[in-house]
């Protein structure tokens, strides 16, 4: 394996990643939420907040917004919408856009919960099952 061959592989990979990302940006459904992070204190262990959702699909269809698999609201034949939602979150909560007919998950986002007094989780730094 020559160095030039290795460099060609790395460069090709980077190019593919960039290309795929660029294509995805233009064609993928988008779901955004604000705020994305809620900080809980030692005294109050739950976040009570108004979440502002905005989503956009590539084509009109029936769609539901789910909060950890629990339905928040559904729309019929819609390609974009905005929604304000009063939420009570205690742990990291995932919001997803799902087509109720096909069950396909089209986009997702999450609201992170951070503790002001203690860090309870961290990112894993190695790929799981990496012994071999």
């Amino acid at each position: 394996m020559k160095l030039t061959t290795s460099l060609v592989i790395i460069l090709s990979l980077s190019l593919l990643l960039a290309l795929e990302e660029a294509i995805a940006k233009n064609s993928s459904p988008v779901l955004s939420v604000s705020p994305k992070v809620c900080v809980i204190s030692e005294e109050k262990q739950i976040c009570e907040l108004t979440l502002n959702f905005e989503w956009k699909l590539t084509q009109e269809q029936d769609i539901c917004l789910l909060e950890n698999d629990k339905q928040v609201q559904c729309w019929q034949k819609t390609s974009q919408a905005k929604l304000s939602h009063k939420a009570y979150v205690q742990i990291e909560t995932v919001y997803s856009l799902v087509n109720p007919q096909t069950g396909n998950k089209l986009a997702q986002t999450k609201v992170e919960v951070q503790s002001s007094h203690l860090k309870t989780q961290r990112r894993r730094l190695r790929s799981p099952w990496s012994f071999f």
């Binding site: 993928s28 961290r122 894993r124 071999f132």
Partner: protein, 280 residues
């Protein structure tokens, strides 16, 4: 080499049809032991003459993270910088080259000639005139403890890692540096995780494990230079429940730069495992 391209091709074919979701780095609870066990069938192929293939029937996944200190699948680390996209840690781990010199199977001693006879000669590198040396016949290669720096960049679509490690156990006295990219996407219910990367390993490291000198007492000497070693791994997971999933794991490590050593039978090392994984 061709296998790296195949894994890359498969991964990016999958990626083209994948639903675009932001990549979530997997998280672990602080102060809790994370234990997973894969049960299935697989093999870790040994590229050396006389080396034992290692049957993969059980695949462990062991991790323990504290706020700074961690142990993850054989790597001990201390994270001293952890911000939104960047993490930097001191790390230590045993040099994995030694695994090819561990003789797992006692029957190897008795079946060695039979195995050599039935192996497919087309897949053996080099030609018949080059003398090959059995890895059982050379001086003992020892486990080396390598230590260094690990940097990780968490992008929303991928993770990039850079490792620089040097021998701190005075075994091979060399060093290695590598860069890798991990990607993560979903196809239906499948979670697809391809990893590609490349190591540079110095002549000292290569000569300790794969060179031949007077200490080996095999009648020939062989010296290697620094080498480049690309690799590609692919992991497919099909979740069955919160803590159970079907797991397929493929890995290909290219040893083309090293395989001119008489110890090598193949110029690559392949691992494959398929089974059920259970997270405790």
């Amino acid at each position: 080499m061709r296998y790296i391209l195949i894994i890359l091709f498969c991964s990016f074919s999958f990626a083209a049809s994948a639903k675009k979701l932001k990549m979530e780095a997997s998280k672990v609870e602080l102060g809790q032991l994370h234990l997973g066990l894969g049960v299935g069938v697989g093999v870790a192929k040994n590229p050396l003459h006389g080396g034992d293939d290692f049957p993969l029937l059980l695949l462990p996944d062991i991790a323990y993270y504290d706020e700074h200190l961690y142990f993850d699948n054989g790597q001990l680390g201390y994270t001293f910088f952890d911000e939104k996209n960047h993490v930097v840690s001191f790390i230590a781990e045993f040099n994995p080259e030694k695994r090819f010199f561990v003789f797992w199977n006692p029957s190897n001693v008795f079946l060695k000639n039979t195995i050599a006879f039935i192996e497919n000669p087309e897949e053996v590198i080099g030609d018949d005139t080059v003398k090959s040396v059995d890895s059982n016949d050379v001086a003992k290669r020892r486990w080396a403890l390598d230590s260094g720096i690990n940097y990780q960049y968490f992008h929303e679509n991928f993770i990039a890692r850079i490792n620089v490690l040097t021998d701190i156990s005075n075994i091979h006295n060399g060093w290695r540096a590598g860069v890798e990219l991990e990607y993560h996407f979903n196809i239906g219910n499948f979670i697809v995780q391809p990893i590609v990367g490349i190591w540079h390993k110095t002549a000292e490291l290569n000569n300790y494990y794969y060179g031949l000198s007077q200490r080996d007492n095999v009648g020939i000497t062989y010296k290697l230079d620094g080498v480049w070693q690309p690799y590609a791994h692919l992991q497919l997971t099909y979740p069955l429940s919160q803590n159970k999933a079907v797991l397929l794991k493929l890995s290909y490590d290219d040893y083309s730069d090293t395989s001119a050593s008489p110890l090598f039978k193949y110029d690559y090392a392949v691992n494959i495992f398929m089974g059920l994984k259970y997270i405790f």
